[in-house]
């Protein structure tokens, strides 16, 4: 049996019509998926840890905006009842131009204290797709986020220049579809060095002897013990340790959701629009195709076909045509999305996310709606006598 035998003859334009509709639906859905994954990823991250920074408005501290967080404060935080671990961090913008500062697309150099486990409950580790993760004792090595590496065609085994210093790339992170995709992870000691090289004011303060290397932290991630309420613990830390900016996970999540409310509304609109346009296009195309064959149905009924025979035939054809259109639409959307993303990846961006659930939904939606539309049209036609059907279709 040839592949072409699977497509009923005379349905080429119907399939093209469905393909276009489904490609639109899948493309809109893939954009919505991409944004959803980004927002959900961010939400998951902030709900997995308590982020703290020193009091003040220090620059270059990523999303834990605040001042320096000295080592003494970290020790105090670790002593607060309910705290399971504190990991000092140094976050530096990769590009220091203000235009990319604190935006959703900001690339960060993130120094991590590898002597303690990652306290974030939702990101106990950051898995690598190639190479290896950072290890305690590493120096001058980095693990790059997927987009950071892809936009620069970097791979494990290569090198990259971070803030004027060359680093060996030991691993590339799995794609997370959220912030870490644009991170360059380095050991915290290396990050502190980069910070000192960049910030003349900090060098002066460091030179005056008021600071030690261990005090150079832009923030810390705090974990909590099992059964502990993270929001309550965050407030306890705020009350117990003076001179801190403490983010309350629940409030930060709420804030994040509020700040992305526009995107959520946009997603809902895109999804509804995609379903409406794709659905109408598909149903209309299939229904029109069945009505176009009204004469054929009249002839078949004259030759002895019962209503059930016709319904079975049309549903079978509707199923095959919808499946063809659905698969072609998915392939078209994948081709367009991949081409656009290949272009956008140069800037470290990705617009589409063709998740398995989206593709499955698109195919099921296509087949179900196509079959339903075909069945509806057939039932309408079945009301006509064979002679009337032949007359109308001639």
């Amino acid at each position: 049996m040839k592949l072409g035998d699977f497509l009923p003859r005379g349905y080429a334009f119907t399939v093209i019509g469905i393909t276009v509709g489904m490609a639109g639906l899948v493309s809109l859905g893939a954009m919505a998926e991409r944004i959803t994954r980004f927002i959900d990823g961010g939400d998951r991250f902030v709900l997995g840890q308590i982020s703290v920074a020193g009091e003040g408005m220090g620059m270059g501290t990523g999303f834990t905006a605040g001042g320096l967080l000295p080592a003494a404060k970290i020790t105090e935080i670790a002593a607060v009842p309910g705290v399971s671990g504190v990991q000092a961090q140094v976050m530096l913008p990769f590009n220091t131009s203000t235009s990319s500062f604190l935006t959703l697309t900001q690339e960060l150099i993130m120094g991590m204290d590898l002597s303690v486990p990652i306290p974030n409950r939702h990101y106990r580790e950051l898995p690598v797709s190639s190479g290896r993760p950072l290890r305690s004792g590493d120096r001058r090595v980095t693990v790059l986020g997927a987009d950071f590496a892809a936009s620069r065609h970097l791979a494990a085994g290569g090198t990259v220049t971070l803030a004027g210093q060359e680093f060996s790339i030991v691993g590339i992170l799995d794609k997370t579809f959220t912030a870490p995709d644009r991170f360059a992870l380095v050991p915290i000691e290396d990050a502190r060095e980069l910070w000192l090289r960049r910030d003349p004011l900090l060098v002066q303060a460091f030179g005056a002897g008021s600071l030690r290397r261990g005090d150079l932290n832009t923030g810390a991630a705090v974990g909590w013990r099992d059964g502990e309420d993270p929001d309550a613990l965050a407030r306890r830390i705020q009350a117990t340790v003076k001179g801190l900016n403490v983010t309350i996970p629940g409030e930060l999540s709420k804030l994040l959701r509020q700040s992305t409310a526009f995107f959520s509304a946009l997603l809902l609109g895109m999804g509804a629009l995609g379903l409406l346009i794709g659905g109408l296009s598909l149903a209309n195309t299939v229904t029109a195709a069945v009505f176009e064959r009204i004469r054929d149905f009249g002839i078949k009924r004259a030759l002895g076909a019962t209503d059930l025979d016709l319904l079975g035939e049309v549903l079978g054809e509707g199923l095959r045509v919808s499946l063809w259109g659905g698969v072609s639409g998915v392939v078209l959307a994948l081709a367009i999305g991949t081409a656009i993303d290949a272009r956008l990846l140069r800037d470290g961006q990705q617009l589409f996310l063709f998740s398995p659930r989206l593709l499955t939904f698109a195919l099921v939606f296509s087949v179900a709606l196509g079959t339903l539309a075909a069945g509806y049209a057939t039932l309408r036609i079945a009301r006509l006598s064979p002679a009337e059907a032949i007359r109308r279709g001639t």
Binding site: P8, R9, G10, R295, D296, I299, K300, R301, A302, L303, G304, A305, T306, D307, L308, D309, S385, P386, A387, E388, I390, T394
Partner: protein
């Protein structure tokens, strides 16, 4: 407005009967009613010992497939099927063995001299070839009744005579009654009876010319 009234017609197997009448007299309506292609407002239609006019939709469909063959003026072949597939369509809904139906269909196409065109689609066939394929479809199941509605209307004389000859031979076989609707005088030649439809009534005499 009633199109037909007082129509009383009985056909025997082996009979070849022509129905003549002016345009709009109801010839096609009569054929559609007899062929169960159109529901009737009244009256009865019997096929053998069965009153088919009062059967349900499903039973009527089965009766159409098994017992009635149609030859239409405009051929009414399905454009998406080849000549052979069009002929085999008649066997699909009556539960015939596929291999046997295919053998019969090929033999019929051979006899009608269109076997070499069996894999062609209707748009690739001439009018004469299409009508011969339609004829094969009508007789594939050896129905006891064949209804032919102006079967020569779209054919040249040569092909028209060939189709009429086949219908005549079919009736002469004794198994099938053939009812032919035609306005062509030559179509009535060779029939056993010619009936005239006028004013909704069927008579054996031509209507009197209007003065």
């Amino acid at each position: 407005m009633p199109v037909l009234g007082g129509v009383d017609l009985e056909l025997e197997r082996g009979e070849f009967v022509a129905v003549a009448g002016p345009s709009g007299s109801g010839k096609s309506t009569l054929l559609n009613l007899l062929g169960l292609l159109e529901p009737s407002d009244g009256g009865e239609i019997w096929l053998g010992s069965e009153r088919v006019s009062h059967l349900g939709r499903r039973a009527q469909a089965r009766a159409r497939g098994a017992s009635i063959g149609y030859v239409f003026q405009s051929f009414l072949l399905l454009s998406g099927l080849t000549a052979l597939e069009n002929v085999l369509l008649a066997a699909r809904y009556v539960g015939r063995d596929r291999a046997e139906a295919r053998r019969d269909a090929l033999a019929l196409l051979e006899r009608m001299e269109v076997a070499h065109r069996k894999d062609h689609y209707p748009t690739q066939l001439s009018g004469g070839e299409q009508q011969r394929v339609a004829y094969c479809r009508a007789v594939l199941n050896r129905p006891p009744l064949v209804l032919a509605d102006e079967p020569t209307g779209n054919l040249d004389d040569l092909h028209a005579q060939a189709i009429l000859g086949e219908l005549r031979a079919l009736a002469a076989g004794g198994h099938t009654a053939v009812l032919l609707v035609t306005h062509r005088a030559e179509g009535q030649a060779g029939t056993d009876r010619v009936l005239y439809l006028s004013g909704g009534r069927l008579t054996s005499h031509p209507p009197a010319p209007v003065a």
